[in-house]
Symmetry: C2
Subunit: 403 residues, 2 copies
């Protein structure tokens, strides 16, 4: 009566759950040393409360007395909610979407899981730019797909030539995440167009046009006037997956969506397959209550300027503590270089070891190896300003003790 060997070995591999384990160990450390003594940068759990529009929509939904309002609806979601999302994505992508182009899901993770179930056959490949969100590997493996990471350029932008080289007849999709978790990179419009051209050429040559899946939960969180590029006008076989975890600060409620480019040649099959996947994977439908909430409140997001403050504060703290990092253009993560250790050649920095070392200084960060990018670590700065203000001493001491 053992559990499945694959699950046993995967769940006990150190890499597999390093971020979540940090988050859960953080709770234990806080109990032991006090909330204020622990600097928890482990996970993207926004510290901003949901904005007023969301709070109001929650109250209104709670007060609603409509027969069947907590009952089943079509697996794709409420027509009104799908319609609101079509409006949202239409505005972002500069394309006219109908409600029928949208499937409501239990968060962006569920959305991506459904898309991959819809398109992957055993052995099919999902190309990602490294560093990437580590759960992608599981989401592909669940459906017998294979994640194929391609290293980003040194500034963490897409390496289009390398992606082109990685394409094959096994490529079901290219999965991009802009702003990127963990690097904070926002891919330029030029790079998106170049990627679209590369994929189009590959499709013409091989007869298999890869899907381009855009994971965009951080789309609205950008700095210095950056803008996340539209994809739909440049590539027909594109779909967006997203959620309201970050821009409405409700990650625990699990509400998101899939939106397909109206110009996609097999669009109706694609949407039908995503709806079917939503059902047979056991999601059934996105939670009814928060479908109503986001339909009413999607256009009144949190005050992103608060993340700008946090970002600038943390960059100043890291400068002072003597760390190198990539300046984030979006999202709320700082990707930081592991300090070189005396006696080790550069590039051999041990990010797992350094994150353990940071933990002994009560600072919780996620090692880059988990993101396919060893030698770096990630700090999620969606935390209180107090945490950022006071972490400098611990970070500096940790660096000095390491070197």
């Amino acid at each position: 009566m053992p559990i499945a060997p694959y699950i046993y070995s995967t769940m006990n591999s150190r890499m597999s759950s390093v971020i979540r384990r940090m988050f859960e160990e953080g709770a234990i450390l806080k109990k032991k040393y006090g909330e204020d003594a622990v600097f928890d940068f482990s996970i993207g759990n926004p510290d901003l409360e949901p904005p007023k529009g969301v709070v109001k929509a929650i109250e209104e939904t709670a007060a609603l007395r409509v027969t069947g309002s907590h009952g089943y609806m079509p697996n794709a979601g409420y027509p009104e909610t799908r319609s609101a999302m079509a409006q949202k994505v239409g505005r972002e992508q500069g394309a006219a979407l109908a409600a029928q182009n949208v499937v409501m899901t239990a968060g962006a993770a569920a959305a991506l899981t459904c898309v991959l179930k819809a398109i992957l056959s055993p052995g099919d490949e999902v190309i990602v730019s490294a560093p990437f969100f580590p759960e992608y590997a599981h989401y592909a493996a669940n459906h017998r797909g294979v994640l194929k990471p391609v290293s980003a350029r040194p500034d963490f932008s897409l390496d289009i030539a390398a992606i082109g080289d990685a394409l094959s007849e096994k490529t079901a999709c290219v999965l991009i995440n802009s702003p990127n978790n963990p690097s904070g990179k926002v891919y330029s419009q030029e790079d998106i167009i170049a990627l679209a051209e590369t994929l189009t050429a590959h499709g013409k040559k091989t007869g298999r046009l890869p899907y381009l899946v855009c994971d965009e939960p951080y789309r609205d969180i950008v700095y210095g006037g950056k803008k996340v590029a539209a994809v739909f006008p440049h590539y027909s076989a594109a779909a967006v997956v997203s959620s309201f975890a970050k821009n409405l600060s409700i990650p625990g409620e699990r509400i998101g969506y899939i939106a397909a480019n109206p110009a996609m040649s097999d669009r109706d099959d694609f949407i039908a397959a995503c709806i079917f996947a939503n059902r047979i994977l056991g999601f059934v439908n996105a939670p009814a209550f928060f479908q109503r909430v986001v339909a009413a409140s999607w256009d009144s997001p949190v005050d992103y300027s608060l993340y700008t403050e946090r970002r600038n504060m943390l960059m100043a703290v890291l400068d002072k503590a003597g760390y190198e990092y990539a300046v984030p253009e979006g999202a709320f993560y700082l990707f930081v270089k592991v300090p070189a250790k005396k006696g080790f050649a550069q590039g051999l920095a041990d990010d797992m070891g350094f994150c353990d070392h940071l933990k002994s200084h009560l600072a919780l960060c996620a090692p880059g190896a988990g993101f396919g990018c060893p030698g770096w670590f990630r700090m999620a700065y969606c935390v209180s300003k107090k945490t950022i203000e006071h972490c400098g001493g611990a970070l500096q001491k940790a660096r000095e003790a390491w070197q």
Copy 2:
């Protein structure tokens, strides 16, 4: 750029989505002919509204002003909610459960999906008693498991000898559903004990003790003094999956749980694997809001006597219209024999054809073939009394036109 061939063929197979399609076609028919003209018995979408305790808990949760109350929590759920569920299952099973024995999930479908992900290796078998809930086949196939149906006895009780014959070293689990959807059968305490003995003997012989997974969303909906048997005292390797879709009438909100027998020998691994599956399958966690709602309201269920009324009414209608059926002991489904067609040998009744025929009389029912039991069809009577009162004419005409 096609979707995955497996998904394409499965989603377009007539059987695969016959119930959901009925539900969605029903909405179209109601628009065309009016709500009152269509007799929709297609799906288990309770017509009872959530009870007062739930409505109150929703209002209180909406009014809650606690920092991070919509944020991430541990993947297993809130400790308070897990603790409340441990109390619930402990009472039902006559066993002392701790919060650590429970994982909160996005409904019973998600719960079962996570359990199967945790225990299935490729080719492993899941034994079910036919008739069974059709989605089981997908839930097993998602993780490369194989559903192995074993026909029930003529009264729809478990055929323990046949289940014993079906066991092999590939058997990862036996999955039972009491009260059963679609037959309404409640398995007796004697049969549960006999099943436990059979599984224990098999485990001793082969070294692989199968899990016994009890899918119990209808546990509290029983008739004539029936009681759903406890399993934990009789079999260590047992787990319950359930939800609040039926007893709190909130199926659209997707909230449920997994509870493991505290006596299970690998209990901690099993729970850890379910939590890990919850994460990597993209569920991440059960919706935060309804975790709070059910923790507060699980013990104030809907008034089940209303289902007793509906059951008795529908049995009287079917008697008058000339149908044979299995008297339900629980749940809210009536499993009805397809009337013999002139010129056909008994047992060759075409349930798919008869359900199409019923649809032409504006009565929507689900064919038994979808449940692994051809020659029957299912009527979900969690519908208004008006629907039940007025359907008799259509059912009778349909039978007469068929014969």
